[in-house]
């Protein structure tokens, strides 16, 4: 039991209790009655009334009842409340997972299909809000809470407040998204609010002790525990983190976890759609996978997914957690489709799935086209051979630096080529001060030799010693098929990445980055910061693969490297052609929103929360693969879930953070019982009993 207003009650008690006692000691105003004798009365009252004041009080039932009534009244003033699970801190951060897996319909494990996990989580969160202590009627601070909605990022829906109505409204306004859930950023956000430092007034900020820890808020996470990055969350010992698990650990699901479309290298008109499936069902399951192109069903294939295997139990698992190794399966659709296409892949099951968000995936496939490449080289046989071997729309244009500079100075002519390959030569561009300087103009470039200067380049500190590739970023689509183990660079340069420059290091040697990708708003470049001739790379097949993959990557082909596919919940960023006006975006549910492009034509849409096709449309010039419909240019972007962790729906009853394990709280927490109405009722009853006794006593 806790009291909202103890100080006021103590003060009131200090005044009221002595006042009541004093009233008892004070003489009553009595009516004078003359009687024949007081002899008998005096003898009668001698037995009933002791003369000593405290003896007088001792047997006075009325005083005892009045004291009880006063006590009940004072307790009511203190506003006690009783709870089986009172929020342990005065501040609570309520984090509600609204990711795709929270749409699973096992929110009520006893009645599957009736309640989504998000609804159950919101219900539990509302119960928590109900349990918060309200501010006292006569003063006294109540519990504060804030609401954060979490998927890939955390969104503060309600800052700290004691208003339960505001908290309830914020919780009830949370809608599900098809985004995967990531705890790390949200945890950091919640922690920043939870441990807001308190600065002592009048003390210098740097002085020791001036900053003392504020009151630590309790972080309540309402989730199913399917958090792919939970182990990366660094929970500090002082963090108070409560995990409220919703959903059932036994829920099974089949979902699409990978989707990719590629055009055949030899026959670009043939499109292959690769579908990766995942099943957590205990039994093998046959599912139909349907491929639709522009809304028309193109093919249906059946695939049998094996039963999910029993996984190895780890120490951080609850005994009730289901250790499952999801079964994977896949299939490939091959379709002749030279034109651009919006591909949708969906799983057809006889019984509806617990989570529909991962049963469908979309792809925006650009039309089949062959690339045009310009090669600028003072003479490099190996590079020229490789480029000429690519499947291009026309033979590569081989230029000398002088010719190339003339073409690059004319943007219209330069734009005729998808990718420029620069060998040991950097064009001259006009800098911000108007002076010519080496650098990359707008466009797509593959650079060999001394790197261009930042921002779309590296800091070049001259020749260095020979090196090998020490670290390779294998996740990058260009580097994925490569093996650089045999690469020895004799003519390596001492390079470095400038701070905050948009450069991703793909391979690093002893002298600095060897291969980087630089992507500014206008320029995109793959930079190989050494002369291929002065290395062993030219005799390695990986060189050919690098050039071929790099050209396609720079040209924007392929699902992964393309700009037409994002993950639901991430930020949709697109660069529109200069001059685009009246930009709007329509969501999968047909709702539209207006966007304002920045000066360089970039538009940012922060709410692609659901799986589906988002269509940007604008008035103005179209881009390379854009479509003109009714006078407006349209560009489609597909948002997919494609998250194996999210598609595994079994609720985790124990959440393993980096430094601690958090057990799930049970869901049957009792609400706060406010006792003051009962105390007032008790006070009233006692007063009534006292009145009855008084009347019985004085009745003649």
């Amino acid at each position: 039991m806790s009291f909202l207003n103890p100080i006021t009650a103590i003060i009131a008690a200090a005044v009221a209790v002595p006042a009541l006692l004093i009233l008892y000691f004070l003489k009553l105003r009595r009516r004078d009655v003359e009687v024949s004798t007081t002899l008998l009365w005096k003898r009668a009252i001698e037995d009933l009334q002791a003369n000593a004041p405290f003896q007088r009080l001792r047997n006075n039932i009325l005083l005892i009842l009045q004291m009880l009534a006063l006590l009940a009244l004072l307790l009511a003033v203190a506003q006690p409340q009783l709870s089986a699970n009172v929020s342990s801190g005065a501040k609570s951060v309520i984090i509600i997972d609204r990711s795709a897996s929270m749409q699973a319909t096992d929110g009520d494990p006893d009645k599957p299909g009736t309640l989504t996990r998000l609804e159950a989580a919101k219900r539990r969160a509302l119960e928590l809000v109900d349990r918060l202590r309200e501010p006292g009627l006569l003063g006294g601070a109540g519990d504060e809470a804030m609401v954060i909605a979490m998927d890939t990022i955390g969104e503060v829906r309600q800052n700290f407040t004691t208003s339960k109505a505001a908290l309830r409204a914020a919780i009830e306004a949370i809608t599900p998204t098809d985004a995967p859930s990531r705890l790390k950023d949200t945890y950091g956000l919640a922690r920043a609010f939870a441990q807001r430092p308190v600065f002592q007034e009048g003390a210098a900020p740097d002085q020791d002790g001036s900053r003392i820890a504020g009151q630590t808020a309790v972080m309540h996470l309402f989730s199913d525990g399917r958090l792919a990055d939970a182990e990366k969350v660094e929970a500090q010992p002082e963090d108070v983190f409560v995990y409220h698990a919703v959903g059932s650990p036994l829920t099974e699901n089949v979902g699409i976890v990978g989707l990719r479309a590629e055009r055949s290298y030899d026959k670009p008109g043939t499109m292959s759609v690769f579908v990766a499936l995942q099943s957590t069902a205990a039994a093998a399951r046959a599912v139909d996978v349907q491929l639709a192109i522009d809304g028309q069903v193109a093919a249906i294939k059946q695939v049998t997914l094996p039963s999910a295997g029993a996984g190895q139990r780890t120490a951080d698992m609850d005994p009730n957690d289901r250790a499952v190794v999801p079964a994977n399966g896949g299939l490939v659709f091959s379709v002749d489709r030279p034109q651009a296409a919006i591909v949708s892949v969906s799983i057809r099951q006889q019984e509806p799935d617990a989570m529909p968000a991962d049963d469908v995936g979309y792809l925006v496939v650009p039309p089949a086209r062959r690339l045009a490449v310009a090669l600028v080289t003072p003479g490099n046989l190996f590079l020229r051979e490789v480029v000429e071997g690519l499947n291009l729309s026309r033979p590569p244009l081989v230029l000398t630096p002088g010719q190339a500079q003339a073409i690059l100075d004319d943007p219209k002519k330069a734009g005729e080529y998808d990718v420029w390959i620069l060998d040991r030569w950097i064009p001259t561009v006009r800098g911000a001060d108007g002076k010519p300087a080496p650098g990359l103009p707008p466009g797509r470039f593959m650079v060999f030799g001394p790197p261009p200067p930042p921002p779309a380049g590296l800091i070049d500190r001259g020749p260095g010693e020979a090196t090998i590739a020490l670290d390779v970023r294998r996740a990058h689509p260009v580097m994925r098929p490569l093996t650089l183990d045999a690469l020895v660079v004799t003519g390596a340069r001492r390079t470095a990445v400038e701070d905050k420059s948009p450069v991703t290091v793909l391979a690093e040697g002893a002298t600095g980055p060897l291969i980087v990708e630089a992507a500014t708003l206008e320029t995109r470049a793959l930079i190989v910061a050494f002369d291929v001739i002065e290395s062993t790379w030219w005799v390695d097949p990986s060189f050919v693969l690098f050039v071929a993959g790099g050209v396609r990557h720079l040209a924007g082909e392929g699902a992964e490297g393309g700009e037409g596919v994002i993950q639901a919940g991430s930020v949709l960023t697109q660069r529109l052609p200069t001059g685009a006006e009246q930009v709007s975006i329509s969501r999968p549910d047909r709702a539209a929103a207006d966007l304002v492009p920045s000066a360089d034509g970039q538009v940012v849409f922060r709410e692609p929360q659901n799986v589906g096709i988002y269509t940007l449309s604008w008035k103005g010039p179209p881009g390379g693969s854009d479509v003109l419909v009714d006078g407006r240019v349209r560009r489609a972007v597909a948002a997919n879930l494609l998250d194996p962790a999210e598609s595994d729906l079994g609720t985790r009853l124990k959440l393993g953070l980096q430094s601690k394990l958090v057990d799930a709280q049970s869901g049957d927490a009792a609400g706060v019982r406010r006792l003051w109405p009962w105390l007032l009722l008790a006070c009233l009853l006692i007063v009534m009993v006292e009145w009855w006794i008084y009347n019985r006593k004085v009745a003649i």
Partner: protein, 315 residues
């Protein structure tokens, strides 16, 4: 229980004794359990030998005896002188002690009124039967020369005899103004010292005497008086009808008791009253005092003709 602010007092004899009652009382006479010697010739058989027509005994003549009382028939037969003795018929002394303290002036109907009427009725019975009737009022207020009323210890009217003295008796009773603290024991002492002979004494009081009624009754009982006690209590004393927070003031001595009337207190009061009356009754029984406790609502004819007849005071 409460004292009335301005109680109505009887002003005439017929307010004390109405004619019907006078007629009924005329047939009654006082009795005493013992045969007592009187002072004057009367209608009551005396212990003395006297001159009545009723034969009592013979005794031998001794020198000096009245020759008129010699039984000459026996002298004729036996030739010896015997005196013929007759029972003497004498009067009876009736002493009515009336409590006229302030406590008697309480209650509704007034206890004092009943006491007045009872005293008058008994006095009337005594007078018509040629007894010597004395009425003593204990306490009461007496007018001063300045016209004020002043408490007095006692007042009395003595040795009334014959129906004609009824006016004196009634005048005395009617002029009594109850009040003052009285002094029962002191008054009893004075009565005991001043009374003569033996007789019947009737004490009419509520017996609420703070210093105790025991000594007073003991004094009155001495010297051969047959004592009858009539305790008069008002209905308000028997069943108090007060409530709330009260300051009870004793009308005799001004003593104050602060009480909050509650059911337990009333119960306790009644227990105390019952115990007080029981103690009085025991005290009287131990000393052959005949006690009759009556509420002030009792009609005086019923009291005399029924209660006191049964107690043997009248016949």
């Amino acid at each position: 229980m409460q004292k009335l602010q301005s109680p109505s007092r009887p002003e005439r004899l017929d307010e004390l004794l109405d004619p019907q009652m006078v007629a009924r009382l005329g047939a009654l006479d006082l009795t005493s359990r013992k045969v007592l010697a009187g002072k004057m010739k009367g209608e009551r058989r005396s212990k003395r030998r006297g001159q009545s027509v009723e034969f009592a005994d013979h005794r031998q003549y001794v020198v000096g005896d009245d020759l008129r009382h010699i039984d000459w028939n026996i002298f004729g037969r036996l030739d010896r002188l015997f005196l013929k003795l007759f029972l003497e018929e004498e009067d009876l002394s009736l002493h009515v002690v009336l409590d006229a303290t302030a406590s008697l002036d309480c209650g509704q109907p007034s206890k004092f009124l009943l006491a007045q009427r009872l005293a008058c009725a008994l006095g009337y019975i005594g007078l018509v039967n040629l007894h010597r009737v004395t009425v003593t009022a204990v306490g009461g207020l007496a007018p001063t020369p300045e016209g004020d009323l002043r408490p007095q210890l006692m007042s009395a009217v003595r040795d009334l005899r014959g129906r004609r003295r009824l006016q004196d008796l009634s005048r005395f009773l009617l002029q009594l103004e109850p009040g003052g603290p009285g002094g029962f024991t002191e008054a009893a002492k004075r009565i005991a010292l001043t009374r003569k002979g033996k007789g019947v004494m009737v004490v009419i009081s509520d017996f609420f005497v703070k210093e105790g009624y025991e000594n007073g009754l003991r004094l009155l009982l001495g010297r051969g008086y047959e004592v009858y006690a009539v305790q008069v209590l008002s209905p308000q004393e028997l069943e108090p009808d007060v409530g709330g927070d009260l300051r009870l003031k004793d009308c005799e001595d001004g003593d104050v008791a602060e009480v909050t009337i509650t059911a337990p207190l009333l119960k306790r009061y009644k227990q105390m009253l019952a115990a007080y009356c029981a103690r009085l009754r025991d005290f009287c029984a131990a000393r052959s005092i005949v006690l009759q406790t009556v509420p002030s609502t009792t009609p005086v004819d019923a009291l005399v003709l029924d209660y006191l007849r049964r107690k043997g005071l009248v016949r």
